[in-house]
């Protein structure tokens, strides 16, 4: 028989527990789609085929619906990512305060272009829509950490602690 093999969720036991806890907070499993996708991205590194099936299985929705969500939001990736992900905001406030030059600075330092991953797999550089910290623009997000009021000289230091 052909077709998607979605008879089980390929989550680790620990993640599965967290997934179940998240789902229990919502009226329907489908409503937990975004938090479950975050957990899946953490577990699998990015939203690959296996993650798609696992999420679809626990949420009892189709893989197509999960795929639509995962590609809609820029915080999810459907291609492999580096160990650390840099999200650089390019919205109005950040751009006015020099995000464009920060972008070329980052690209130069890492030797990659926006959207790419360094060859050693250390960093992935991605565009972000407004990160909600316009008062401290320009900002970037590395994994879960915020860096505000960035300049070319503070970027270097910020990146050092990520291996």
């Amino acid at each position: 028989m052909r077709g998607p093999n979605i008879a089980r969720a390929a989550f680790s036991e620990e993640t599965l527990k967290r997934v179940e806890a998240v789902i229990s907070r919502y009226p329907t499993p489908q409503a937990a789609a975004l938090p479950v996708l975050y957990l899946a991205q953490k577990e699998f590194g990015y939203i690959n085929d296996e993650a798609l099936s696992a999420v679809a299985f626990v949420l009892r929705i189709s893989r197509a619906e999960v795929y639509g969500l995962a590609t809609y939001y820029s915080m999810f990736s459907t291609s492999p990512m580096g160990r650390n992900v840099i999200h650089l905001c390019d919205n109005l406030a950040c751009t006015l305060l020099g995000a464009e030059s920060l972008r070329s600075c980052l690209e130069r330092k890492l030797g990659i272009r926006m959207g790419e991953t360094t060859s050693d797999g250390r960093f992935t550089l991605r565009n972000a829509e407004c990160l909600g910290a316009c008062g401290q623009a320009p900002v970037m997000l590395v994994n879960d950490d915020f860096y505000e009021a960035l300049t070319e000289s503070t970027i270097d230091k910020a990146l050092e602690k990520y291996r």
Partner: protein
């Protein structure tokens, strides 16, 4: 009815419609991309903007409900401007590649833009480029042409239930994609039909021509028993493409992969074009006259020497009603033999016998009844693969909130969509049904099949049993449907089980339906292609009526069924076999036995489209016309009699089945009195009237044996062959003929053997390894596929693939009543190559 005003005209429409639906019913056209009657409204394209009195802003007609007293304006300067602005947006992205786009001249965007006149661009974005996606072997997706109406996504989800497509990314970058790594797509091609632009296109049709170069015609699909209406486009005598048409036929505009992409057999280069006669072990081309004369002489010699009963005939579950009628009349009258059968013996005859054994009135469901049913009980069937349009009816029912309970040992596509899939032990469909019979009918003859006994036999639990019973109990049972398939038909005591379940359904007020593998199984049986039944399923004792019209004696003794004929051939009592459009070497279980039997024949005639394995063994091969080149009628699984006419002229030297039979009869000195096919049809109507749209089957008193309680169900333990191979069906194959359709081979070209991951790791088998399965009867090798949902200790393999067929593994123990080869499973051992 409610009153509305559209453009200052009063109209009355039924309540519960949206404005666009109301306008459509009043004959007022509102432009649209995303709205389609059969889909849920989206309100995405904004082309259907209208103004409603009392509401300041323009509204979308597709999402606004029509209310009493509503005054609607569909055309005004403001509306025109708004719609034109929407088109302007679409054209920012849409490439102007109409010159080589297959959709041109039937494209909604092209037509609407033409209607709105020149559109001046106020935006200057670079157009998207290079997003033609060829991931799907049959459907080309050109995403820069997409207008994001999401019709394809909705049709895939709501009608096809495949959930293969999704809208990815967002804003102007939104792209419709298939889910990666899935295999969700069922290749129904519905997304091609509904696409308002050239974003989803039929790859088999690429550059096939403009719509005005096409001739359009309708025919009935030659694959499964659903009997779908195909809207064919032909150009200069060639089939070009198949479309679903607008809500037409029993399929309501939906098609499956076979219907849409399986037409390639008609123009296959391997088609036989001239009759062949075997001379010194070689089949050589001859003229029709010589072939027919040779056949007539040989048959007459055998009849003269050994009697008519030395000749047998296989009619065809694929050929038309008329051809089958003529065939059985030829066998009975010209040859003088009742040895007549077809491959319907494998799939349907048990159901027919079971149905005839029920005297009470049982209502037969139609596909429409299934769509409207509240609950359906499916036993031993996989309608989503065998009869995809019936599968769609079930999906529709589920979409409306119905429940589908499936009792089947295999992991199947139907199992995936069913509300509840109860995995009974292989081979226990019959005790399950008899147990249901006992609970509902309380007949003493079924007393051995108590609840406990049945649960033990089938390996199921009390809630499962309750779930199954719930379909047939309670007041809602009148809207229930019972569906049975080959799991029941090919089981020991299959006919008994069918009759018990039909009686139980009758008691509950439910209706029934059988799945049917071939397009005309039902028609061939009703035309009398059965050893013991005349047209209209009349018993042989009623033959006086037919003798009067046919003007000849009909043998009184019942003839042999398909496998009995093969046995007789092997034993030397049957000397000749006339096969009209069947391929037992591939489609019948126990290939080795079939081969020996056919080899023992003195004379074998095969009528076919192709040089099949059976045809290559014949003494005479007569080429026939395909479904697109002839007229006739097919009877679908509901019993609906549907006729069709030729779409294209046939190649010079082939003849329709019916004409071959008529010509041969003339050569044998007993010509038919018919001048045309219409006269044949008239005679059929006079003997077997069509009432309304179907021929009625009425039950009779029949004693079907009931098994005792001590019978062992399912396979016995065999340490030498520890695995159980369960036969499944494939959406992409339907008999040996479907292997020659290029479109279907593109969708799936390998059968594949599925096994459980635990078994696989024990045996050291990984995905894609070549494995050999050996049974007591034969062996087959194919690629292994690991599948979680296949039960441990079992394997699954689809039949119908010519390059790896599990048919050779099977034995052919016959059920004493139905004479059908029993068992949809076989014990095997596995070896890795």
């Amino acid at each position: 009815m409610i009153k509305i005003r559209i453009n200052d005209h009063e109209f009355e429409v039924e309540p519960g419609l949206t404005v666009i639906q109301a306008a459509d019913r009043c004959g007022i056209y509102i432009p649209r991309f995303c709205y389609l009657e059969k889909l849920s409204p989206l309100g995405g394209c904004r082309m259907c903007l209208i103004s409603i009195q009392g509401i300041p802003k323009l509204q979308t007609a597709c999402t606004t409900p029509a209310r009493e007293g509503m005054a609607i304006i569909t055309e005004s300067e403001e509306i025109h401007k708004a719609r034109k602005a929407m088109l302007e947006f679409q054209l920012i992205q849409h490439p102007l590649d109409c010159f080589y786009c297959d959709k041109a001249a039937e494209c909604d965007l092209q037509d609407l833009t033409y209607q709105f006149g020149e559109i001046k661009h106020r935006h200057d974005f670079p157009k998207r480029k290079g997003t033609i996606i060829y991931e799907n072997p049959l459907i080309q997706r050109t995403l820069e042409r997409c207008v994001h109406c999401e019709r394809c996504i909705r049709v895939c989800k709501e009608i096809q239930g495949a959930h293969a497509l999704s809208a990815t990314r967002r804003g102007r970058l939104t792209t419709i994609r298939e889910v990666p790594g899935g295999g969700e797509c069922e290749h129904c091609g519905h997304c091609i039909d509904v696409c308002p632009v050239g974003a989803n296109l039929d790859r088999l049709f690429t550059y096939g021509g403009r719509p005005f170069q096409m001739e359009k015609g309708k025919t009935i699909c030659p694959y499964c028993g659903c009997g779908c209406t195909l809207t064919m486009n032909t150009r200069e005598g060639m089939l070009m493409r198949v479309r679903g048409g607008k809500e037409e036929g029993v399929n309501r505009g939906s098609l499956c992969a076979r219907g849409r992409f399986g037409w390639g057999i008609v123009h296959h280069p391997g088609r036989l074009v001239r009759p062949l006669i075997k001379k010194q072990g070689k089949l050589l081309e001859v003229e029709w006259d010589e072939a027919l004369l040779f056949t007539a002489t040989r048959l007459q010699k055998i009849i003269k020497e050994k009697g008519g009963a030395a000749v047998g005939g296989l009619g065809s579950a694929r050929a038309s009603d008329e051809a089958n009628y003529l065939f059985q009349r030829f066998m009975r009258r010209v040859i003088g033999s009742n040895h007549i059968d077809s491959s319907a013996r494998l799939h349907y005859t048990a159901g027919l016998i079971g149905r005839l054994g029920v005297k009470a009135e049982v209502s037969e469901a139609t596909l429409e009844d299934v769509r409207n049913a509240s609950r359906i009980l499916i036993i031993g069937a996989d309608p989503v693969e065998t009869n995809p349009i019936l599968g769609l009816a079930i999906k529709k029912m589920l979409w409306k909130g119905g429940r589908a309970v499936l009792a089947d040992p295999r992991s199947t596509r139907t199992g995936r969509i069913a509300t509840r899939h109860i995995r009974i032990r292989p081979g226990t469909e019959v005790p399950l049904i008899l147990g249901l019979g006992l609970e509902i009918l309380k007949e003493p003859s079924l007393s051995g099949f108590t609840r406990e006994e049945v649960m033990k036999n089938c390996g199921i639990f009390a809630p499962d049993m309750d779930e199954i019973l719930s379909v047939l109990t309670g007041p809602a049972a009148q809207k229930s449907v019972v569906l049975m398939g080959r799991g029941v038909m090919q089981a020991p005591f299959g006919a008994t089980a069918v009759s018990v379940l039909l009686r139980a359904a009758a008691r509950a007020g439910a209706s029934y339906l059988f799945t049917m593998d071939r397009n005309n199984e039902r028609g061939s049986c009703e035309m009398g292609v059965l050893p013991d039944r005349l047209p209209g399923l009349a018993p042989l004792s009623d033959r006086g009526r037919f003798e009067k019209i046919w003007g000849d004696k009909i043998p009184a003794a019942p003839g042999l069924s398909a496998y009995d004929m093969l046995h007789a051939a092997k034993e030397g009592t049957l000397h000749a076999l006339y096969i009209m459009g069947e391929n037992p070497m591939v489609d019948f279980p126990d290939t080795k036995f079939v081969e020996d039997a056919l080899n023992s024949l003195e004379f074998l005639v095969v009528q076919d489209l192709f040089m099949t394995r059976t045809a290559s063994m014949a003494d005479v091969v007569l080429p026939t016309a395909s479904f697109a080149e002839k007229s006739g009628g097919f009877t679908n699984l509901e019993g609906r009699v549907q006729s069709f006419t030729p779409l294209i002229p046939s190649s010079v030297d082939v003849m329709p089945d019916s004409r071959i039979i008529v010509e041969l009869s003339r050569k044998m000195g007993k010509g038919f009195p018919f001048k045309s096919l219409t006269e044949v049809r008239e005679e059929i109507h006079s003997l077997v009237p069509v009432q309304g749209w179907k021929r009625k089957i009425s039950g009779e008193d029949m004693d079907l044996p009931c098994p005792g309680a001590g019978v062992h169900w399912g396979p016995a333990d065999d340490p030498e062959f520890p695995f159980l191979l369960l036969l499944t069906s494939s959406l992409y194959r339907n008999g040996s003929m479907s292997n020659l359709a290029p479109g279907l081979a593109m969708a799936q070209d390998k059968a594949g053997i599925s096994l459980n991951p635990l078994d696989a790791s024990e045996l050291g088998i990984t995905q894609g390894d070549k494995i050999i399965l050996t049974s007591r009867n034969g062996e087959v090798h194919d690629e292994a596929g690991i599948c979680d949902s296949v039960s441990k200790g079992t394997l699954q393999m689809p039949e119908g693939f010519a390059n790896a067929s599990p048919k050779g593994l099977l034995s052919h123990d016959l059920d004493p009543v139905t004479r059908a080869p029993m068992g949809r499973y076989v014990q095997v051992k596995i070896r890795k190559i």
